[in-house]
Symmetry: C2
Subunit: 196 residues, 2 copies
C-alpha cells in the first residue's frame, strides 16, 4: 500500500517524447494533463489512506462532509449528483452504503414525492468531523508549496476549469453567496436543498 516513486519524472519525459516524436504544438497541453493526472494520483493515494482509517471512500466522505455543513443537515440526491458530479446510479449506491453504516438516513422530500433527501445522523456527523480533521492534518496541511504558490496554482486551475466550463460560470457567484452565508444569522433566500 506504500506509494512508490516512479523511476523518473514521467511528465518531463513525455513532454520530450511529444516534442520530438509526436506533435510539438500539443506538448504543453499533454504535459498539463499528465501533470494533473500524476498530481492527482499522488494526493489521491494519501487521501485514500486516510479514508480507509475511517471506513470511507472519498466519494462517501465528500457526501458526508457536504451534509455535515449543510444548515438543514440534508440534501437531495439529485443536488449531490449534480454538484459533486457523481452519476445518479452511483449516488444511490453511495447513500445505500452510508445508510448501511447508519451515517445517513433517507427522508422523503416534503413537497416533491419524486425526490429523496439524505439526512446526516449524529454518528455520521462525528465520522465526518473525525475524517476531516485527519485529512486536514495528514494531507491538506502538508501539501508542499508556499501559501502564495498554492494560491497561484488554485488560480491557474480555476482558469482552466472556467475555460473548460467545469462549472456554471454565469450563476456561480450568486450561488456562492448563498453557500457562504450558511450558519450566519440572516435568512437565506433559498434553501440549498431547494437549489435542485
Amino acid at each position: 500500500m506504500a506509494f512508490e516513486p516512479a523511476p523518473f519524472d514521467v511528465v518531463e519525459a513525455s513532454r520530450r517524447v511529444w516534442l520530438q516524436h509526436w506533435a510539438p504544438e500539443a506538448a504543453s497541453g499533454m504535459a498539463v494533463y499528465t501533470a494533473i493526472l500524476r498530481s492527482y494520483q499522488l494526493l489521491n493515494d494519501q487521501v485514500q489512506q486516510v479514508m480507509a482509517r475511517h471506513d470511507l471512500t472519498f466519494a462517501r466522505y465528500e457526501v458526508l462532509a457536504w451534509l455535515a455543513t449543510d444548515p438543514e443537515s440534508a440534501l437531495t440526491l439529485s443536488w449531490i449528483s449534480k454538484t459533486l458530479r457523481i452519476p445518479p446510479a452511483t449516488v444511490t449506491n453511495i447513500i445505500d452504503r452510508l445508510e448501511d453504516d447508519k451515517l445517513v438516513r433517507r427522508v422523503p422530500h416534503p413537497s416533491d414525492a419524486r425526490t429523496t433527501l439524505a439526512e446526516i445522523t449524529a454518528r455520521g456527523r462525528k465520522v465526518a468531523t473525525d475524517a476531516t480533521e485527519d485529512l486536514n492534518s495528514t494531507v491538506y496541511e502538508g501539501i508542499g508549496l508556499s501559501e502564495a504558490e498554492r494560491n497561484k496554482l488554485i488560480d491557474l486551475l480555476a482558469q482552466l476549469r472556467t475555460s473548460g466550463n467545469e462549472f456554471d460560470v454565469e450563476r456561480s457567484e450568486e450561488v456562492l453567496e448563498d453557500v457562504t452565508s450558511r450558519g450566519a444569522s440572516k435568512p437565506r433566500r433559498k434553501g440549498r436543498s431547494e437549489v435542485a
Copy 2:
C-alpha cells in the same frame, strides 16, 4: 455522456466552507486538492471520449503510446508497472486485453525467464498513432491557457510532485537523458527495457 457543468464553483465554495467551518489553515491545501481533482475530472472526461472512439481505455492507451515510441518496441511488464504506476495485477489485465485485440504480443525475455516483454504489433502502432493524433487535436491543443500559463502550471505541479516524492528525484535526470536520446543514432548506454 455529455459533460454537465456543476451549478457553481465547488472549489471556491469548499474553500469558504473550510475557512469558516473547519480549519482555516488547511483551506488552501484542500482547495489545491479539490482543484486538481476537478480539473482531472474535466480533462479525463474528454480523454475518455477520445479513447472510446478507438476502443481503448486511457490505461491501455498509455501503455500503447510508450510502446510505440520505444526503440525496441517492447517493454517489460514490471517497467510498465513501476513507470506508469499501475499495480502488477492491473498490468496483467491491460496486456491481456491488448493482446485480445492483437495490439500487443507477449514475448519472453531473452535472458531472464521470470520477466515478460510486451511488444507492440503493427496494428497496435497504428491504433496508438491514430489515438494520439485524435487526443492531440481534440484535447491537448484545446486546453484553455496561454503557453506561458501552461508552463507555469506544469512547473507548480512539478514542485508539488517533487515535494511529495512522486518520482525518484535523485535519478530522474540521468534516466531522462536516456529517454530523450531515443531514436537518435548514438547508441544508448542501457536499453529502456533493461531499466527494470
